[in-house]
């Protein structure tokens, strides 16, 4: 059965994030005053911190997971810029291991974290210090095809070094249409790469500017509101069995054939999307 491989030292996993850094990411997300670019890096940095904690054992961080982060945008002359947004000691590195992530945050930041106090029934704010690896960027256009093309090279090379692993999971987060052509074929070619455990999983999340309802893990393109949503749907891999069961157990109402895709996502949906898409990494041996 495919998509069954457990993540271990011998069979590392790869999570590759493709992040839209186009100018429109400067706009607010959903119905909140926060900008898409800010919410996105908050979610990614939060995920990286969680993954670091999860990978940490008695003897330190276990080298189970490789992480890739690629941002994509254009410069003033419309030349595509596909580069890693990691900073600090990991500056410019496209592919790093979780050990390097854990040991090298770019900086620490004071943030406000909210808790729910059940005894008093109210929301409480506290100050926390969180590690930051990725900084927000919003400039230029949306060279999605270029990004997927670069991702192909990265993933192909990684697979050659890890042919037995759980297939790489590519998480693509954007807020609009591609401005360098139809990304469908690039997505198809990326998804055609495979390890012995199955084909590469490509999950797409679209960030919303409106206060409309989000779509999470739809099973058919018919219920989706427009062509962009349907395109992203076709570009997205169906959820493997274990992820599907895990989502259902958590309360998602999924139909058979549900794909790893979110449309009109607000911050809560983005976080749930990230959590679900990387669910395989919950159990690290």
């Amino acid at each position: 059965m495919p998509y069954n491989k457990e993540i271990s030292r011998q069979n590392k996993a790869l999570f590759l994030f493709l992040l839209d850094q186009s100018y429109s990411m400067e706009d607010p997300i959903g119905n909140s005053p926060n900008k898409k670019k800010d919410e996105l890096v908050t979610a990614i940095n939060g995920w990286l911190q969680n993954m670091t904690i999860r990978s940490t054992g008695g003897e330190g961080i276990r080298d189970y997971v490789d992480i890739g982060v690629l941002g994509y945008r254009t410069d003033q002359e419309e030349n595509p810029i596909i580069e890693s947004p990691l900073g600090g000691a990991l500056q410019g590195r496209e592919l790093v291991s979780i050990v390097e992530i854990g040991n090298n945050p770019s900086r620490l930041e004071q943030r406000i974290k909210q808790f729910y106090d059940e005894d008093m029934g109210e929301l409480v704010e506290t100050q926390v210090e969180v590690p930051v690896w990725v900084e927000p960027v919003a400039e230029g256009g949306t060279p999605m095809c270029h990004a997927l093309y670069r991702a192909y090279d990265l993933v192909d090379k990684w697979i050659q070094e890890h042919p037995q692993s759980f297939p790489p999971v590519v998480i693509h987060i954007s807020d609009g249409e591609s401005s360098d052509g139809d990304p469908q074929q690039y997505a198809d070619s990326l998804r055609s790469l495979a390890t012995h455990d199955g084909e590469v999983l490509l999950f797409n999340c679209h960030l919303s500017e409106t206060a409309g309802d989000p779509f999470l893990f739809p099973a058919s393109g018919e219920i989706l509101p427009n062509d962009l949503a349907r395109l992203l749907f076709k570009m997205s891999s169906p959820l493997p069995e274990k992820m599907f069961q895990s989502a259902v157990a958590e309360g998602f109402e999924l139909q058979a054939g549900a794909r790893g895709m979110a449309f009109n996502a607000d911050m809560v949906s983005l976080i749930r999307f990230l959590d679900m898409g990387t669910r395989q990494a919950r159990v690290l041996r």
Partner: protein, 792 residues
């Protein structure tokens, strides 16, 4: 021979509300402690607790009554929306369906010690402990899936075959607190009444629990005409005739019963429940003695014209089917790396027109495009050339080359077919050029609808916003005139004095539209507890099929939306908002309009926001997920009060409801002569109504305004039955897919305090109308808050 009894009990959250005992100062119940918080002290018991006590008490009696078999059935829905209807025997009887009297006596789930109170000689009470066997111990769920419940009962009865045969008519007693959450149970109940078990047809009796000591109970009515339109008549239809021997038994206990009385109590108090349940033992005894009189079949009434009654003994919902996954096989496990499709050719990169880092204007970065874009108003010519000119006619050849082929993705301002940016910085462009519309934007403009008067407000120097708005308006009007609204002369122009605010213009189609900010005649809108604002919800109960068991039906979704909005008002209203809820639906071919609240606010039309939580029929509790600010999620418990609970019905005219709204608003306005904020009306609907009917309906609201001249504004919250994309506060109707929705939009006012809202919230553009389809109406409380803030 055994007599069959089915006790069917509501286990929805509505049963958590306090029971009404019906005896002044609390009562003396044989089975329980003090009932009611009256003279005997103690906190009031919930309906669930009181009913459980009554049921356990009657089970103890039935265990001694003779040869009978009893099925104990409960129904509720889980938080996830699954119907849970089934037998509730527990302990030694767990899993059993019909249980004989002897077995009941032998196996209570538990035995409690309760204090029986007996009046003593000196006017007080003596307490003595008694053993109280308990069989029924309910767990409450969320909503009340009555269709699923009666389907379960039908299934149980059809499979029941006692060893010694059936004697007398099986008797189903249904105890509930409110409406069904999954549709109209009429058909499911008829399916039970239509059973024939050894030639005996079941009797179905309904005991509906009241919520207030002040509302009178309706006991065993015989004549539909004397019942109030609405739930009383509906339950009447669903109840069997009382058989003669039970009429006698009731008369013997002092209850007046007429000929053709139905087995029904509405707004029952616990005293009535006890009396009704005492009928069970009488029924068993009389049936066994052969003295039972068969109840005649209820008089048939015209059924709604659909397909046949729902069949099928579907009981408890089957779990979702296992997903069928056929993952692609992994490539052959050979040592060499898996083969790959050759990477695609280097991608083309089509230049987006004007990517920029800084806030862009269309003319800012790339040189040519603005010249090829037309101003929507060439002031001289209302007919700007052939609208769909194939070749962009432009005096500047540069323009043609840079006309993008793709939609202007990447340009910060999307170009929509209708709203076109004027040339902000180049007035020169107007005169010499013959401007053809953008290729992408076939601006179908017919000369008739673009009169110079409408184009007049468009000036090239004006900001992009107002021209977009006007363009939207003109196109909206052309859409109106082509949509065929015939009522052209009904509205006329309704202009109120005071040009800055509150101008209500009736478009030529007769629909009302408010396009300005709040308050009337230039006065600032202010509300306070002494001079409150006014908010009326109008709930459309129509669904495509009211008899389909569907916990997710449109009416239910609208209830949730209503609950969310009421919760918002209750939380932030600060005692300054009067709230009313009007619902309308079809009842036996007539339009039934209810204007009063239910639960603790029963009988009232308006209630103040501060009373809503405590007066609700019940409070729905749910969890909302929020971002914790650092990339994680927290689950926050939230409460949603339910002010009214109505069943879905067939579609009906909206006009009587809007007439009723106009009437209650007139009365309210008369009672509040100092009101200054526009009354807000929110129409909750599935958006599938008849457009002509809707036009007539909102015509009823014409002229409704406060004494200060602030006209009522009509908003819409829509939950569609078939999938439709979310549309939130649209400035035009182009994202709306159906004629009905577009008609609703045309009748929707712009959001109050439009200018302030669009400045503060980027999701709201100027000219946004107060309409949301499949989304959250998140600025409902906004005008009220602003009116509070402006308190001098």
């Amino acid at each position: 021979m055994s007599v069959g009894i089915v006790l069917l009990i509501d286990e929805s959250s509505a049963m958590d509300a306090a029971a009404v005992t019906g005896v002044a100062g609390g009562g003396i119940s044989s089975g329980g402690g003090s009932s009611g918080g009256g003279a005997l002290g103690g906190p009031p018991k919930s309906k669930a607790e009181s009913v459980a006590t009554a049921v356990n008490s009657v089970l103890a009696k039935l265990a001694q009554a003779g040869d009978c078999e009893v099925a104990l059935v409960g129904y509720r829905s889980s938080k996830e929306g699954e119907s849970q209807a089934g037998v509730r025997w527990s302990g030694g009887l767990a899993g059993r369906e019909f249980v004989s009297a002897a077995e009941i006596a032998a196996a209570p789930a538990a035995v409690e010690t309760r204090m029986r109170k007996v009046r003593n000689d000196v006017g007080g009470f003596d307490e003595s402990p008694v053993s109280f066997p308990v069989w029924y111990q309910p767990t409450l769920g969320d909503r009340a899936p009555q269709i699923a419940a009666f389907e379960a009962v039908r299934d149980l009865l059809s499979r029941w075959s006692p060893a010694n045969g059936i004697q007398g008519q099986p008797l189903v007693v249904h105890i509930s607190s409110g409406s069904a959450g999954d549709g109209n149970p009429l058909r499911a109940i008829k399916a039970v009444q239509d059973l024939s078990l050894s030639g005996q047809t079941p009797i179905v009796a309904h005991l509906h629990l009241g919520s207030s000591a002040n509302t009178p109970s309706v006991l065993f009515p015989a004549n539909r005409a004397y019942l109030a339109l609405g739930p009383q008549r509906e339950w009447f239809e669903r109840s069997s005739l009382l058989p003669g021997h039970l009429c006698e038994a009731l008369k013997a206990s002092g209850v007046t019963v007429n000929v053709n009385a139905r087995a029904m109590v509405y707004n029952a108090k616990m005293v009535d429940v006890t009396k009704a349940l005492s009928l069970l033992a009488a029924h068993v005894q009389k049936s066994l003695a052969g003295q039972a009189v068969v109840a005649a079949a209820p008089v048939a009434r015209p059924r709604p014209p659909e397909g046949g009654p729902k069949l099928g003994p579907a009981t408890i919902k089957a779990p979702p089917p296992p997903p069928m996954r056929t993952a692609k096989p992994a490539p052959a496990p050979v040592a060499k790396p898996p083969s790959a499709i050759a990477p695609p050719p280097a991608p083309r990169f089509i230049k987006p027109p004007a990517p920029a880092v800084h806030p862009p204007t269309p003319a800012a970065s790339s040189p040519p495009p603005p010249l090829s874009r037309p101003a929507p108003a060439a002031p001289a010519t209302p007919v700007p050339a052939a609208p769909v000119a194939a070749a962009p006619v432009a005096a500047a050849p540069v323009a043609a080359a840079s006309l993008p082929v793709e939609p202007l993705a990447g340009a910060p301002v999307a170009v929509e077919p209708i709203s076109v940016e004027p040339v902000a910085a180049e007035p020169v462009a107007v005169e010499p050029l013959e401007l053809a519309p953008l290729e992408l934007a076939p601006l179908e403009v017919t000369p008739a609808s673009l009169s110079p008067a409408e184009l007049a407000p468009l000036e090239l120097e004006s900001s992009g916003q107002s021209s977009r708005q006007s363009a939207g308006q003109s196109s909206g009007q052309s859409a109106d005139s082509t949509a065929g609204f015939s009522d052209g002369s009904a509205g006329g122009e309704l202009q109120l004095a005071g040009e800055a605010t509150g101008v209500m213009t009736a478009a030529p189609t007769g629909l009302l539209r408010v396009s300005a900010s709040a308050g009337g005649s230039g006065t600032k809108a202010v509300i306070s507890p002494a001079s409150p604002g006014c908010l009326v919800f109008v709930l459309d109960r129509s669904v495509a099929d009211p008899f389909a068991a569907d916990l997710g039906n449109a009416c239910g979704k609208l209830h949730s939306l209503l609950g969310d909005m009421v919760a918002e008002v209750a939380k932030q209203g600060k005692g300054s908002v009067d709230v009313a809820v009007v619902s309308y639906g079809d009842s036996a071919g007539d339009t039934e309009v209810r204007t009063t609240l239910e639960g603790g606010l029963s009988g009232r039309v308006f209630a103040r926001d501060s009373e809503l939580m405590s007066g609700a029929v019940r409070i729905d509790e749910f969890e909302e997920q929020m971002s914790d600010g650092v990339g994680g999620l927290i689950a926050v418990p939230r409460k949603r009060p339910v002010l009214v609970e109505v069943e879905p019905t067939m579609a009906t005219s909206a006009r009587p409801a809007f007439r009723a709204v106009a009437e209650i608003l007139r009365v309210w306005i008369q009672d509040h002569p100092s009101a200054t904020l526009n009354p807000v009306i929110v129409h909750l609907t599935r958006g599938a109504g008849d457009t002509a009917d809707f036009a007539a309906a909102i015509g009823e609201l014409a002229g409704i305004a406060t004494a200060s001249g602030a006209p009522a504004v009509l908003y819409h919250a829509v939950a569609t039955e078939s999938p439709h994309p979310s549309v939130v506060f649209p400035g035009s109707d182009e994202t709306l897919a159906t004629d009905s929705l577009r008609a609703l939009w045309a009748g929707t006012a712009e959001l109050l305090f439009n200018a302030e809202l669009s400045a503060e919230k980027p999701a709201i553009k100027p000219g946004a109308r107060g309409m949301v389809v499949n989304g959250k109406f998140f600025v409902l409380i906004d005008p009220f808050k602003r009116a509070m803030a402006t308190r001098g």
